[in-house]
Symmetry: C2
């Protein structure tokens, strides 16, 4: 049985959509046990609306909620009985294999590092969302956890990301690229220039060189390595340009009689197309390199994304991703010891 | 008379569209004199197709062409008779007020700095393209000229960008924001944290704080300050996401009979909408802070963008932007001298 703790209180549609997503996941996978973490009365009220296998669902009470606006370090320290802190402690005590939350990103990143803790050898745990592309999805790693990263961090990101894409998403020999402002090896800022030859020298990944931001939506790489500031800009601009274009197209289509009729006819095809350009079907963003798994679901997650985030944790556990990460970072450590 | 040198040889559609755009500009503004720089026989052959005021158009021969793939520093040094080097020298010798090129970005950046030269007091000349937003356009500064910039550079970018948006684009008290990964002042990487208070202390700009990448397409700031690596990623991802979504929508609309009929009906409204999300009507990206003006037009520029880039140079000269930049950076220099 794989035990997944779910933050029932975090996210724009909590606790309703969180509970609904948890119940959906129980129905899809028989080997899952969900632990809903949060205010018990509110969770139980939501649960009354569903039929579910009661032996595979439990509730762990947490009286407090960390809000999105709160300073994350302080919030994690002070709100010991918040759903995020309680959920992470379940993972730490190995009472849960993973924790899924759509709550405060900052608190999840901080809590992951100081409560759950890093796997030995992992320098910085990266946040790695899947982003939609014309060909499917790519993993953007790191996307907010570690600003001002060093080259050695990026090399670990590349390796962990590669393992994730191969074994959780199922892409054989994932193509790894580093975000750069030109295709040539001599292009880039100091960090990219330092990292490039290190990635080139990694024998355990399929490094294809630099990727320009323009090529990311076309799906030209499976694992997109970048330091967190740039990664965060990419993730948010992706959402921003998409949303703005859609809203402009929609209001454009409503601007005249002829186009209104046309809009009715194209709506189903358009919807289908845009669905393909939506990564929520793959679940949330894993915070990789922790002793256990923490998944950050989008703040506006509905039950579909919550359910998929839970299923993603199951694959993660089944595929023994953390064991693979440990193994892969091991030879590197031996080498370092030799060099010293 | 304002003299604009135009690189007839640079760009995907050179010399045809460059020459055509130059002729269009001559017709739109009587105070413009265009100097077409490049291979004389090819330029003259193109010119035969048009009627134009011959007293306001001249040709300066340049036998060589710098290709996009060439190493820019070497190319500028060795190809002394290339259209880019010859055109920049016209600006240097004050035989032209500005130079417009759709050729090699690298060569234009290098040539601008080493041939045309910086205005006294300007630390680094930024490349500042206009990007389309839901509300109009914003200036993205810097976008490729100076990776690994320092805080003092970003402050100058903010000031120069502010002058440009106010006097060339006509936005009163342009809102200046710095690209960041959160709205709070304490967020960001080391560079942003160092730059933020400096921008806040600038009395000559209207600084509104941080901008997250998600808000850029909504037009939440007029001048978007960023170091070049991040700026370049933003510019290219903007193009990339837009192009990918459009191609997906197009193929989606062609996927069934009903939607094909609908597509015919919505086409004009869709075209109009997407035109609004296209910055080419405003011309190219100026390289600011030079003694003279250098404008980098998009590699795939057609005559419309070439013409608009020329008109943009006219406004730049008429509005005495360089004099305003000198003036605005002056008090800063005095202060520095006092501090020393």
């Amino acid at each position: 049985m794989i035990k997944i703790a779910v933050d029932a209180m975090g996210g724009d549609y909590a606790p309703g959509e969180m509970v609904k997503g948890a119940v959906e996941a129980l129905k899809k996978k028989e080997q899952v046990h969900v632990i809903l973490v949060g205010q018990q009365d509110r969770i139980e009220k939501e649960l009354k609306g569903y039929a579910y296998p009661a032996d595979r669902l439990s509730v762990v009470h947490a009286s407090e909620v960390i809000e999105t606006g709160e300073g994350p370090v302080n919030a994690v320290r002070k709100k010991k009985d918040s759903s995020i802190v309680v959920g992470m402690n379940l993972v730490k005590k190995q009472e849960a294999d993973a924790f899924v939350s759509a709550g405060s990103s900052g608190a999840i990143l901080v809590g992951g590092q100081i409560i759950v803790g890093r796997i030995r050898g992992v320098e910085r745990p990266p946040l790695a969302p899947l982003i939609p592309t014309q060909k499917g999805v790519s993993l953007l790693i790191d996307c907010g956890a570690n600003v001002d990263a060093r080259a050695s961090h990026l090399v670990q990101f590349a390796r962990m990301g590669s393992i994730y894409m191969e074994h959780v998403i199922g892409i054989k020999h994932p193509r790894v690229a580093i975000v750069n402002i030109g295709a040539e090896e001599e292009k880039g800022n100091a960090l990219v220039k330092e990292t490039f030859p290190l990635l080139k020298a990694c024998e355990d990944i399929h490094f294809i060189g630099s990727i320009e931001a323009r090529e990311i939506p076309r799906g030209e790489a499976d694992v997109i390595v970048s330091e967190a500031f740039v990664g965060n800009v990419i993730l948010k601009l992706y959402e921003g340009v998409g949303a703005t274009m859609l809203s402009m197209i929609k209001s454009g289509l409503m601007s005249g009689f002829k186009s209104k009729i046309g809009a009715l006819l194209v709506k189903p095809a358009l919807k289908e197309t845009l669905k393909a350009f939506d990564a929520s079907q793959y679940g949330g963003a894993p915070l990789l390199g922790l002793k256990g798994l923490v998944v950050k679901a989008h703040g506006n997650s509905k039950s579909v994304e919550v359910c998929n985030s839970i299923l993603q944790c199951v694959t993660f556990k089944e595929q023994q991703i953390n064991e693979k990460i440990k193994e892969c970072l091991q030879p590197n450590k031996e080498q370092e010891q030799k060099e010293q």
